[in-house]
């Protein structure tokens, strides 16, 4: 499985490394899988969802991962990255992109040495100025000014791509924070930088720090924190927690967190993680109730209304999440199909989405795992209500061959996920429920035997020790 951390993090680290030691190093770690080009993938639309550094990072990621024979998309991504970088002040990234372009886009997109030097000079001057100011503030010992000074330093470093320094500067403001607003500001900046650096442990700790402030957070900040927490969980493979966090995100988030994540991403990540990890009741409660309410007839909706009254807390989130899901209708259809057991179409949607998802910077490593989990859940769910299942029909429902299906089922049975046995001769799957009574008898007899043996050995050992002790004390007396 390629769900390792090591595939994309070193690449990100290389791109953003402070020392600039990774010039041209990014080219080595090409993606190991060539992705079938998703014609549906519209880079412009995708990039317009984001702003700031993450836009550049995502574009570069796409350029690296879209495969050798899709140079059109690659060049498009690099071109947009170039434009974006030119608007900022990050000469390091600029050099990277120019190298990657390699002159393929014409004279406009080559190394602009003058611009680089100008930016660097400006940066030096600004740095000196900031330094002087900060020293002045420090001698004056005015807390607020020192905090602002460090913040400015942090912003400066961030703009120039020196993320490690930026992080340190932001963290230094901690000692000079006086109100919870300051703390929240510090946490948000630290989270932003940590996400860019790929250090999601920091993200998690700063999220919890921010949430612990005494003042109530406003909706947008709370939503941002949930997203960040969700991302951290996703990267550390805690899919269930990630799903919960994403589902709790308020829709007021809108496009306020575009420097990190777009609302479509919230829907996609949350939907996929929920599909892979939630069981049926949770899935229903958290994502589907409202959808069904709008789709079905009135009398059914009445039943669901009762359900909703019971599930008040989750309902509020339902509405929220439904708003998100509207942004990615495919994921919504996907979840609907899964719930209504149309597994073939569900898996088809998944397959279509896969190509695009592999180009996403955060989901890239986890697509395979999540997909496997979803597939397994589909198989398990299919067999759950039946006493016997004809493998022929099941294979056609999942659009796969009987032998392949048999192998997958055997793997699941061995893992104890399905309680059934395969009749390989007639190609039928029979449910098998453990006989509790027999099992209990067996356990009882075994426990008795073990107790018997252990007590006997214990008595024997006691005797030996007593003998030993007696012998020794006897010899001492003699």
């Amino acid at each position: 499985m390629d769900a390792d951390d090591e595939s994309s993090n070193p690449m990100i680290d290389e791109i953003y490394a402070n020392g600039g030691s990774a010039e041209g190093g990014g080219g080595e770690k090409r993606s190991r899988r060539l992705i079938i080009s998703g014609d549906q993938f519209d880079i412009e639309a995708y990039a317009s969802l984001y702003s700031g550094r993450t836009k550049i990072a995502r574009l570069l990621f796409i350029a690296d991962h879209c495969g050798g024979d899709n140079s059109a998309m690659q060049l498009e991504a690099l071109r947009m990255a170039f434009d974006e970088i030119k608007k900022g002040e990050n000469t390091q990234l600029f050099r990277e992109v120019v190298n990657k372009i390699g002159g393929r886009l014409g004279p406009d997109y080559t190394m602009d040495v003058a611009w680089c030097e100008a930016v660097d000079r400006r940066a030096e001057q600004k740095k000196e100025k900031l330094d002087n100011e900060l020293n002045a503030y420090r001698t004056n010992l005015i807390k607020e000014s020192i905090r602002m000074g460090y913040n400015d330093f942090g912003d400066f470093y961030y703009a120039h791509g020196q993320l490690g320094e930026a992080f340190k500067s932001y963290v230094r403001t901690r000692d000079y924070c006086t109100t919870s607003k300051h703390i929240i500001h510090m946490c948000m900046s630290a989270i932003l930088v940590s996400i860019e650096m790929g250090q999601f442990t920091h993200v998690a700790s700063y999220v919890s720090k921010a949430e612990q402030t005494h003042e109530a957070l406003d909706q947008i900040t709370a939503a941002k924190l949930r997203c960040a927490a969700g991302l951290a969980n996703l990267v550390s493979k805690k899919y269930k927690l990630a799903a919960r966090k994403f589902l709790e995100t308020a829709p007021e988030l809108g496009s306020h967190y575009n420097e990190v994540i777009a609302p479509q991403d919230v829907a996609t990540y949350g939907g996929l993680c929920a599909l892979a990890t939630f069981d049926r009741t949770e899935l229903k409660a958290s994502t589907l109730t409202m959808i069904m309410l709008l789709n079905d007839d009135c009398e059914i909706s009445f039943v669901f209304l009762i359900l909703i009254l019971y599930l008040q807390a989750k309902v509020i989130d339902n509405i929220n999440f439904r708003n998100f899901l509207e942004l990615v209708p495919e994921v919504r259809e996907l979840i609907n199909d899964f719930y209504s057991s149309h597994y073939a179409s569900c898996l088809e949607y998944l397959a279509n989405l896969k190509a695009n998802l592999l180009l996403d910077i955060h989901l890239h490593d986890h697509v395979e795992t999540l997909y496997d989990q979803i597939r397994h859940k589909a198989l398990i769910q299919y067999t759950l209500p039946f006493v016997s299942v004809d493998l022929q029909m099941m294979a056609s429902a999942f659009k796969t061959t009987i032998t392949g299906l048999e192998k997958e089922l055997v793997a699941l049975i061995t893992d104890n996920q399905i309680q059934a046995r395969v009749d390989s001769h007639n190609k039928i799957l029979y449910a098998r429920h453990a006989d509790q009574r027999n099992a209990t008898f067996q356990r009882v007899l075994e426990t008795g035997r073990v107790f018997d043996r252990d007590v006997r050995s214990m008595l024997l050992r006691t005797n030996l020790i007593k003998y030993d002790y007696n012998a020794r004390s006897l010899s001492r007396k003699l």
Binding site: V410, I413, T414, R421, V422, D423, S424, H425, N426, Y430, D435, R437, N438, F441, V444, L445, G448, R449, F451, D452, R453, V455, R456, S457, M458, L459, L460, R461, T462, N463, L464, I465, K466, Y467, D468, Y469, N470, A471, S473, L474, S475, L478
Partner: protein
């Protein structure tokens, strides 16, 4: 009068009442050395004494007679004499313990050891098995008592390959031991006998006792037992973990050092854990010599066989019917014919429940037919309950006994605080 003649007369005269026997015992002890000096002249003396009535005297004379080097022909004559004595002797008389040595070494034990040596010299260990069994039973104070004769008897059984007789004595539970070394040997040979009879669970229990027995220094018996323990674990349980192999109550010496001596076996166990038969067989091939030297090669071959069995057993959990061809493929056998043979063998041994349909080449796996409803099962459960209750009673009795033991109390009293919260009137007598 010839001192020997006088002795014989005393033996014949003083063998009737317990008081006389005690006196006779003292006389015999004093005469022991002189008897040994005259060992050559003793065979006619033996003829004069009757083993059943004059057991004690006969024993001492026999002891003196058989001490010293004996050649093969002499062994031929003396073995029947000893055998006859053992069968006929009086149990109480031979149990009188000499106080001359700390090790409580009964003279009967010495005699039996010599018997064992002699039958080994004659290369007919089976001749000694029967007599030693009788001797062991006679010497035992109770069925829970382990005598040094037990281990010798079991050794002869192993050498003679008559396992069933050995099994009879293994059925008794042992709680009292005279010498730890006897216990080690007893459990080790007992384990070997059980392995020979394919009673792997009992073998595991016995070997476990050896390996976890309290010992201050490592001994060779424990090392050999550990090697067999690993192999039998693999055969019976299908797994063996180094980290969990020795429980906490095993002696620290064992926990630290045993594994250093058994390296090839530990590697065998880890190779078994990978569930790849080819690897396992390759490993066995490369290390055949080492296993051979330890006389464990047969057991190792059984380990390899058990892997096939375990794989087939796993199939019963996932399949209801399976073709022989598929079984052969999954378990990495060479042909469906081999798979059929394996499955047939396992059905006969009762390790799986299945039916083979030769026409279709299919095997149908069945559930364990045991329903736990028969009378036999109920009796079985009932007897287990009774047994365990008896064991619990014994445990409490032992606990009480130890709490009243003087040595224990003196040690505990020393280590206890002067004044506990509850009892201010701690008897100072115990704070020695």
């Amino acid at each position: 009068m010839d001192p020997l003649e006088a002795l014989v007369a005393q033996i014949q005269g003083l063998s009737s009442t317990p008081g006389d026997i005690a006196r006779l015992h003292i006389i015999l002890k004093q005469a022991d050395d002189s008897l040994r000096a005259e060992s050559t002249r003793l065979s006619p003396v033996l003829g004069q004494l009757a083993p059943s009535e004059h057991s004690l005297g006969f024993l001492y004379v026999l002891d003196a007679f058989t001490s010293g080097q004996i050649s093969k022909q002499q062994a031929e004559t003396s073995v029947p004499i000893i055998t006859g004595f053992i069968n006929a002797c009086n149990a109480e008389q031979i149990r009188l313990a000499p106080e001359k040595c700390i090790n409580l070494c009964y003279p009967i034990v010495l005699v039996c050891k010599r018997l064992k040596d002699q039958v080994m010299m004659l290369e007919a260990p089976i001749r000694g098995a029967g007599p030693l069994l009788t001797a062991a039973r006679k010497l035992q104070l109770s069925t829970e008592h382990l005598t040094p004769l037990h281990s010798d008897f079991l050794m002869l059984c192993v050498l003679a390959k008559c396992y069933k007789t050995g099994l009879s004595i293994l059925e008794d539970d042992i709680f009292e031991v005279d010498q730890p070394r006897d216990l080690f040997l007893y459990c080790y040979y007992g384990g070997m006998i059980c392995i020979g009879l394919k009673r792997f669970q009992k073998a595991l229990d016995l070997l476990h006792n050896v390996v976890t027995a309290p010992m201050s220094t490592l001994n060779a018996i424990a090392v050999e037992a550990y090697k067999k323990y690993i192999l039998v674990s693999l055969i019976h349980h299908g797994q063996w973990q180094l980290s969990t192999s020795l429980p906490k109550y095993a002696s620290s010496v064992a926990q630290r050092s045993l594994k250093n001596f058994c390296q090839p076996y530990i590697e065998l166990a880890s190779s078994y854990g990978t569930e790849k038969i080819a690897e396992l067989e390759a490993y066995v091939q490369t290390n055949t010599e080492k296993f051979e030297n330890d006389n464990n090669l047969g057991l190792v071959k059984q380990v390899v066989l058990s892997m096939y069995k375990r794989n087939i057993q796993r199939l019963t959990q996932t399949y209801l019917t399976l073709s022989l061809q598929d079984i052969a493929n999954t378990v990495q056998l060479n042909s469906p014919k081999e798979a059929e043979m394996h499955v047939l063998q396992m059905i006969q041994d009762g390790e799986i429940y299945a039916t083979i349909n030769q026409r279709d080449g299919m095997v149908r796996f069945l559930e364990d037919p045991e329903q736990y409803k028969t009378c036999e099962m109920i009796e079985n459960i009932d007897s287990s309950i009774q047994r365990i209750m008896a064991l619990s009673r014994k445990l409490s009795a032992m606990d009480e006994q130890i709490s009243c033991d003087q040595l224990y109390l003196s040690k505990v009293g020393r280590e206890r605080q002067r004044y506990d919260f509850d009892d201010f009137d701690v008897p100072t007598k115990f704070n020695i």
